[in-house]
Amino acid sequence: MKSTSSIVCRMATKNLQRRPVRTLCMMFFVFMLSTSLFCSSVLVDSMQGTLQKTTDRLGADIIVVPEEYEREMADSLFLGELCSFTFDREWVDVVSNLDGIQECTTQMYMASLAADCCSAATQMIIFDPETDFIVTPWLEQDGLALPQKGELYIGALINPPEPDSIKFFGENYHIIGQLERTNTSYDTCVFMTVETAQEIMDSEGWAAAFGEPTSAAADLVSSMMIRVEDGADAKAIAREINYSIEGAPISAYTTNGIFSGVISSVESMTGYSSVLMVLMLVLVITALLSVFTITINERTSEFGVLASLGVSSPKLAGIVLTEGTIIGFLGGFFGICISVVALILFSTPIQVKLSIPQLNTEISYLLVLSAKCIFLSVAVSLLSSLYSTWKVSRTKLDGLIKGEEL
């Protein structure tokens, strides 16, 4: 003999199958809720995750850049956009002598062209191996040697036409390795030392594109990364750099300060997403509640027949609740499936249009998020069916048989 719960389950499934249009409409509401929750969560979490990774990878407390270039610097660090700005190295010595600075290193940025002279338009990062605390630990961790003259490392997302060489300004340079993927803007950069940078600047292709270089690569700096001593106030040191060094064409920002634009974008995105979710939740609950109430009222005679055949009130309530659970689960499940496919297929245009560097598509993260979305979908659907359940279980047999409004 079949158990009561399996009979209730089968009855609920058959009820849903008998009215496919109504079932699909109700599933659609839950589907919309699950899709919007899943997609907005992935977008917001990806934005926050990349910001955190970029800040962690940077490992500096203060960034010094030429005046009015902080926006370009932030876009380059966060979105991997090409940038090429410099200031004179003489200011590095002035800044590094200030109190409270534990260590500092410099980087220079050069952008190649998206033309036949170059394999691709790529950001070149020139670091100083003697003082560097950003790229070198990364190389050491992977057991990679420092690049020599004419050698370079490429980021994980760079695919040169030939595996061991890349062309910049008409000259080929030797690739000694490809770095591991970091899901930050560093994945689309090329790393080299100042000797290689000087070689590029001395090439004929560079002269044809930008003219003869006016300064040596070793005399130019694009950014200065500073680590402050333990207990020192990074904000105070940044203020000191900005206001105490007279005539300096540089501005200092704390890591959070330079990303303030990105942080405010993340915050507003989180805010919009929360408002959208609350609105969706209210709309879906109202819609499901209405549909459940209307259909249960239409089905009073059906429940009356079941009750007169001996089906108890809790079992009648169980049928309605099971219908709600099935609708919630299937709607939520399909919503997640469609969202995952859409996010994978359209990740590139989403990233470009919403200025999100990387979408988080890690399996473990997606599984946890899917479980949360399905749980919410089922909870919303169950919540919406509670009123109808209560009405069905409370109404007397004669009222049900007469088809009275519940």
Partner: protein, 128 residues
């Protein structure tokens, strides 16, 4: 029968768009002396689209539901191919903001996804 006709006609239009669209309506990156990867990807989509077009014409002509369902199964696999070509097998340009990544490939993927859904509907058609 009506459902089968709609499935085959719309799928045929999608297949035609997959073949012609990347060169006319939703163009990939312009071809200069240096030919980009996306150019070859869009070329690879053409034979797949032609096969899909033949399948949809056959679907329109035949009256046997069993055969229609079998062709739908091939159609599903066929419509998966452009997605694989643009994402895994060939791909496009490195820079995400290039025309292939922002316009051509998303449209190809959308058309293919709609095609898959239509062919699944065709496959689920009940025999009478």
């Amino acid at each position: 029968m009506m459902k089968q006709k709609v499935v085959s006609i719309v799928s045929g239009i999608l297949a035609l768009l997959l073949a012609v669209g990347p060169w006319t309506l939703f163009q990939a990156c312009p071809t200069t002396e240096k030919v980009m990867k996306c150019h070859w990807c869009c070329r690879a989509v053409i034979p797949v689209a032609i096969i899909l077009l033949v399948i949809t014409v056959l679907q329109l002509l035949i009256k046997d539901t069993k055969l229609f369902r079998k062709l739908s199964l091939v159609g599903i696999v066929g419509f998966i191919m452009p997605i694989l070509l643009t994402t895994l097998l060939i791909g496009g340009c490195m820079k995400p903001e290039m025309a292939c990544n922002v316009v051509a490939f998303p449209v190809i993927n959308t058309l293919s996804a709609v095609g898959i859904v239509l062919q699944v509907i065709g496959f689920l058609t009940k025999e009478k």
